[in-house]
């Protein structure tokens, strides 16, 4: 009922203020912030206008004849039904138009394929349903998934109005950061199924395919935050694996890089200390919400027949080593992935502890980050 009211209200609002309505929304392809994206935009507009022009001619002729060659206007049908000349004309002219379009298209395509002489390389790996970024040669890598606010709001029946969430569905916890004006080469691959990495402002998308690597590159002209989404159906949460790229000035980028490395060391040190199980549980809830909820569901009830429940699960209430094992190493042949490389020692310890002592389970034991580290 509530839903219906909401729908009616929005329909009413829409009809009242259509045109002036809320927010900025695009009608056309973005021009983007790279040389490539501008070329693609120009190509797009070129073909569009050619098509519009041809459309005007063709539909114009049709409409003219529908108006003037109507029986009710007393039109008498001529009986001509063949003309070699006409057929030739409308074979050759479109062909020429196509050639004219193909020339710039070929040029752009060739340039896009040239990923040589890059200043730096980032390896991007698609996971169900997050991205992993690895700065080649920098000892820096991290996962990037949908931010918590959007994630909360997008659950079925969450009751949260998406328009109150900043950048709903287009925000992540850890954005990719790259420097402005440098040629950045991307190596795209995937862990489980095919994904596609797409930031419209860069002018292209490319598939991330398990077992293969595709290459692409950008040189971004302006610092800023650019958003995109996974663009290849990759399962249940395909709609919820956005991409955010922060483009920083060279100096800011360098500072950021150092800060990241320091933070990583600090996290490593922190993981050595033993933590209060309650602390672990609290941390685990976050990890669970970010990584596991999609399949095992909010209350750990799972989806019967597809994803097992954690609530009352034999694994999550039985031998803790088995539990740790399935989380770290996954289960081959199922969608249960190996989280060993996706989560830190602390996160792994936390999520296991959380699953055993929450979601309807009360085992009472806990696992410490150091124990996880020992298992690696």
């Amino acid at each position: 009922m509530n839903k219906l009211k909401q729908i009616f209200a929005s329909v009413a609002a829409l009809t009242l203020m259509s045109g002036v309505a809320h927010a900025e929304y695009g009608l056309n392809m973005p021009v983007g912030v790279t040389e490539t994206s501008r070329q693609v935009y120009d190509l797009h507009m070129l073909i569009l206008w050619v098509c519009v022009a041809i459309g005007v001619v063709v539909f114009g002729a049709m409409i003219y004849s529908m108006v003037y060659h109507r029986k009710s206007q007393g039109a008498v049908a001529s009986q001509f039904h063949e003309s070699m000349t006409a057929e030739l004309v409308w074979t050759v002219i479109p062909f020429i138009i196509l050639v004219v379009m193909a020339i710039p298209a070929t040029k752009v395509l060739i340039e896009m394929h040239d990923s040589s002489e890059a200043d730096m390389t980032v390896k991007i790996t698609g996971y169900q349903w997050k991205w992993h970024y690895e700065y080649i040669g920098e000892d820096l890598d991290f996962f990037s998934s949908l931010d918590a606010a959007s994630n909360e709001a997008r659950q079925v029946g969450s009751g949260i109005d998406p328009s109150t969430v900043a950048d709903y569905l287009l925000n992540v916890d850890h954005p990719l950061v790259i420097p402005v004006g440098k040629k950045v080469r991307f190596l795209l691959t995937a862990e489980d199924v095919i994904h596609a990495w797409w930031v419209p402002d860069f002018g292209w998308k490319k598939d991330a395919i398990p077992g293969l690597i595709n290459e692409a590159w950008v040189i971004v002209d302006e610092p800023g935050v650019y958003r995109g989404q996974c663009a290849e159906l990759c399962g249940r949460d395909h709609g919820f694996m956005p991409i955010v790229v922060e483009v920083k000035s060279e100096a800011d980028y360098a500072t950021w890089l150092v800060a990241q490395k320091v933070a990583k060391q600090v996290a490593k040190l922190a993981a050595i200390e033993d933590l209060d199980p309650r602390e672990l549980k609290r941390a685990g809830k976050k990890v669970y919400r970010a990584n596991c909820i999609a399949c095992h569901q909010k209350k750990g009830e799972g989806l019967p027949g597809v994803f097992p429940a954690i609530n009352g699960s034999a694994v999550a209430t039985g031998d803790i080593n088995k539990h740790i094992d399935i989380v770290m190493n996954g289960k081959k042949g199922t969608t249960m992935a190996a989280y060993k490389d996706q989560l830190t020692d602390l996160e792994l310890a936390a999520v296991v502890t959380y699953q055993r002592n929450s979601l309807g389970n009360k085992v009472g034991d806990a696992v410490q980050p150091a124990e996880i580290a020992a298992l690696r």
Binding site: K123, L187, T189, G211, L212, I213, N214, E215
Partner: protein
């Protein structure tokens, strides 16, 4: 029966619906079986029997019509074209498996080994992989295995099938010249050679599985090898059964030198199977 120029249109075809039920039981049972059900194989068996029943009934009806002179030139032409285009569709079915083999050998394996667009693939994901054929891939899927040689059983099988093509044509000549004995002997030889082929292939498979550790799971080599030869073997079996039916019909005195579409259809099918085998021998075993 029908008057001189009529096109024969049968009435009340009941076999198709039987066929649909059979097919559904067979495939539905199979799907359940794949999903791990334990009782599904009996459903499959029932489905299979229903299909066999359908074929006996359907073909029986057509044979009876044929033998009572229902069909004349027009109907015969329809059957011929129908069979020809059916074989064409079968050619396309094999084409996709050959296509997969070529794609894997020409593109996928070299790319994994770093050629062309595969430079980074090789460098970052499969650094130690080199392109060879046969291969079970950079993941060494299925473990150590050996290649199936071309010049043992497969060569003998090539000989068998080629000979069977000759005996089949010889039988056809016999039929056209109304030499019934030549027809029957020729057919019998063809059928014999056909089943011998199937038997030898079974032997070859057991050799592959037991001694070479070459299985369906031996990477793309195992996959393409068994799928291509397996579907071919299945077609040989079907063709041999068709020819067996022709043999029995010949012994019962069916067919005349002018009117023997069923025989020709089976012969076409047999030659088609033969040609596919040559492709297999060259691209799967030899090169």
């Amino acid at each position: 029966m029908s008057s001189e120029n009529a096109y024969y249109i049968p009435h009340d075809a009941k076999w198709p619906i039987v066929g649909s039920v059979g097919l559904t039981l067979l495939l539905g049972g199979f799907a359940n079986e794949l999903n791990g059900s334990t009782s599904a194989s009996s459903v499959m068996a029932v489905g299979f029997l229903v299909l066999v029943y359908m074929m006996f009934g359907w073909f029986g009806e057509v044979i009876a019509e044929s033998e009572t002179g229902t069909y004349r030139h027009v109907e015969d032409a329809s059957f011929r074209m129908g069979m020809a285009w059916f074989i064409f569709s079968e050619v396309m079915f094999f084409a996709v498996f050959f296509g997969a083999l070529f794609y894997i050998r020409v593109f996928s394996v070299p790319w994994l080994a770093g050629e062309g667009v595969g430079v980074s693939t090789n460098e970052f994901l499969w650094p130690n992989f080199e392109a060879t054929w046969p291969t079970n891939g950079p993941g060494d899927v299925g473990g150590e295995y050996q290649k199936m040689g071309a010049w043992g059983l497969p060569a003998i099988n090539t000989l068998l099938l080629l000979t069977s093509g000759v005996t089949c044509t010889w039988a056809h000549w016999g039929l056209i010249a109304n030499k019934r004995k030549q027809l029957i002997v020729g057919l019998a030889l063809t059928v014999l050679l056909g089943f011998a082929f199937v038997g030898l292939q079974a032997l070859e498979y057991s050799h592959g599985y037991q001694e070479l550790n070459l299985t369906l799971g031996s990477g793309v080599y195992g996959s393409t090898f068994y799928m291509l030869t397996g579907f071919h073997g299945f077609h040989v079996t079907v063709g041999a059964i068709m020819l067996t039916v022709m043999l029995f019909r010949s012994m019962k005195g069916h067919f005349t030198p002018e009117n023997h579409f069923a025989f020709e259809a089976s012969a076409w099918y047999w030659h088609f199977v033969d040609v596919v085998w040559l492709g297999l021998f060259i691209f799967v075993y030899w090169l």
